[in-house]
Amino acid sequence: MTDVDDGVVPLGPIDLRQVLVEIDEEVARRRASGALPPGLEQELDATFARFAPAATVGGDAASVLAAAERSAFVDVDVPTASTLPGGPVLKKALRKGMAWYLRYLAQQTSAFNAAAVRALRSIDDRVAALEQTSPAASPHLRDALEALEPASSADDLVSVALVACRGATGRVLVADAGDGAEVRALSGAGLDAYGLDPRRTAANRALADGLDVRVGEAATHLAGVAPAVLGGVVLRGVVDRLPVAGALALAEAAARALAPGSALVVRSTSPTAWARRLDPVAADLSPGRPLSPETWVHALGGLGLTVEGVHDGPPAEELRDIAEELPGAGAVNANNALLRRALFGPVSYTVVARRTA
């Protein structure tokens, strides 16, 4: 009666595989309808993280320091609740009797812990100061680069992502989801999509619109996702600003999280458009720059993914055609087309790769 491949078998007249598909659909419906409030799961994670050791919940340096700070004070007033008759009274008596000794020790330990955390905070401040002098690590520059991401590029990405993720059974992650335009479009097409964005304002705006968009970095999030569970991953924005090693590590984490048959969609600004549009100083100091489509095809193939295609984004708009009725318009516009192709190319491109079984 067992199916050792996946442990899912027809159960008499009931097919558990179909039941699981219907459960996924129900989850998507609940998320879309608000029956499960957007942000609930993030809130549950955050609440448990308050009580768990920092090493179990990951997170950035600030949250780890906050966790250390919460744990710094040693509380000797142990809980006295008990299900046994007389238990609370006994425990209270024990607590009272031992407090004079334990409190003496706890005060010294708490003082040491507080000093240690203060020292770590001081080191964190100094690291932050160093980051400001090191462009590769500067969150300020990252923010500035995010603002330079090409606008109005979502439509073609959505159409490519919809085709790539059609029929996905797991959740579809959109990195750098911004105000959630892609998440909304994917959810509208029946996919169970959610997003991440490091910009709190944008993520909260999406959340207020009823979308499941969380504050966070894609790399941090994907590191905690179980292998082979996601129905699709759309990487956009973040791949434009990461150093090469970071971008490739992110793609590897995404590939690991993908269920067999699911698609990884990488949306990148074209390198020429990026350099052309960016302030020269910002471009020179940037920690990373977009990769060429050929590089992504090579890298994704190296991760064991099957690259299905590269889709060009909208064309550059630097050379506008003149009105057809003007004298010589035909020749001018034909030359414009040649120049656009030769000099500018598309603003962006999208690579679709799929994890095979």
Partner: protein, 361 residues
């Protein structure tokens, strides 16, 4: 006369490995094999029925003798075993990866690392590794055990039937009469059992489906820090009245909990076998579980196994099981059949076949 003596790190009443060792001894005696049990530590209740491993006599000349080590944790017994001249067998019940405990209980993490080291060092000295699941067998092979086989843990599943503690049942039924479903998970309160994930899913279920639902978490603590975190988590969610961190309970009270349970929810990250899954199926409680380690293997398709344990998914799965009567009935029927796969008669025969082949070599 051949002899196969068992070595256990510890022996306690009502302990699954201890009960298994007694059943193994019964099978061996049935085959005419001399078999005694030697232990590292013994609970005072059972101290008279076993001997210290240091009292193991030297093997008799001409009598083929094996030492069967019941491996589930670190112990001085394992290192001592390596110094013995007898042929060696390992019965592997899994060792929890240290990474689960290191953040919560660093000393337990260190003990588990030591246990893994002992498992590795026994590999080359062991003639046959007997694992109680294919998952455990794969672990043995991964660390270099050459000859391995699978024999499920020997359990008298009829021992799952205990007389229900009437007072406990009355108390639980009084709460149930107010409406709402009862979730149950049974297992040591430990990080790898992921009771915190059960609580998260339960919280989502209360919001989306059943504001009157109750959760019973039964099992003694393996980590004070984790237990305390669970208590605080429950309080922070305002679920103190709905979540019962019951701790270790009597067999009669456990039977009462199974009696009132509507669903058994296991979101454990690591299980070498997971006996409570069988117990739940025996008590006709449908199982919703996360696909991890040996859990799907033990369930054998008789539970709803999820690839994703996000609170939303688990809550929806539980809701489906509670609301879909045909599904529930089918799961219960499949569970009953699955428990029969592990009947003592069947598993005893499997072990007897393995031992017979071993003796014939």
């Amino acid at each position: 006369m051949a002899a196969i003596h068992q070595l256990l790190p510890s022996f306690a009443p009502r302990d699954a490995i201890g009960a298994h060792a007694l059943q193994v001894q019964r099978v061996l005696h049935g085959l005419g094999v001399d078999s005694r049990i030697y232990v590292g530590d013994a609970h005072r209740e059972v101290r008279r029925s076993v001997q210290s491993y240091r009292d193991l006599p030297s093997p008799r000349p001409g009598e083929p003798t094996w030492l069967l080590y019941q491996c589930s944790t670190g112990s001085p017994v394992a290192d001592w075993l390596l110094s013995r001249p007898e042929r060696k067998l390992s019965n592997y019940h899994n060792i929890t990866p240290a990474s689960f405990f290191e953040p919560w209980e660093p000393h337990v993490g260190a003990e588990l690392l030591e246990a893994r080291r002992q498992l590795d060092s026994l590999a080359s000295a062991t003639e046959l590794g007997i694992a109680d699941s294919a998952y455990n067998e794969a672990e043995l092979r991964a660390v270099g055990y050459g000859a391995t086989t699978v024999v499920p843990i020997l359990l008298d599943t009829t021992a799952f039937d205990h007389e229900v503690d009437r007072a406990a049942l009355d108390r639980l039924e009084a709460k149930a009469s107010a409406g709402g479903s009862d979730w149950l998970f049974v297992g040591r309160v430990a990080p790898h059992k992921a009771q915190h994930d059960v609580i998260k899913a339960f919280a989502a279920h209360r919001i989306a489906d059943d504001p009157h639902a109750r959760l019973h978490l039964v099992g003694g603590s393996s980590s004070h820090a984790y237990w305390t975190a669970l208590e605080r988590f429950v309080a922070a969610l305002g679920l103190t009245d709905a979540v019962d961190l019951a701790g270790s309970v009597t067999p009669g009270e456990l039977a009462a909990r199974y009696r009132v349970a509507d669903v058994f929810v296991c979101l454990s990250e690591h299980e070498g076998f997971c006996v409570p899954l069988l117990e739940a199926m025996h008590h006709e409680v449908p199982v919703v579980a996360y696909r991890a380690a040996a859990v799907p293997e033990t369930l054998g398709g008789a539970g709803l196994v999820l690839d994703d344990k996000s609170p939303a998914t688990v809550a929806a799965a539980v809701h489906r099981v509670l609301a879909d009567a045909p599904l529930r009935t089918s799961l219960v029927a499949a569970g009953t059949a699955r428990v029969a796969d592990f009947s003592l008669g069947r598993t005893s025969r499997q072990l007897a076949d393995v031992v017979t082949e071993l003796l014939g070599r």
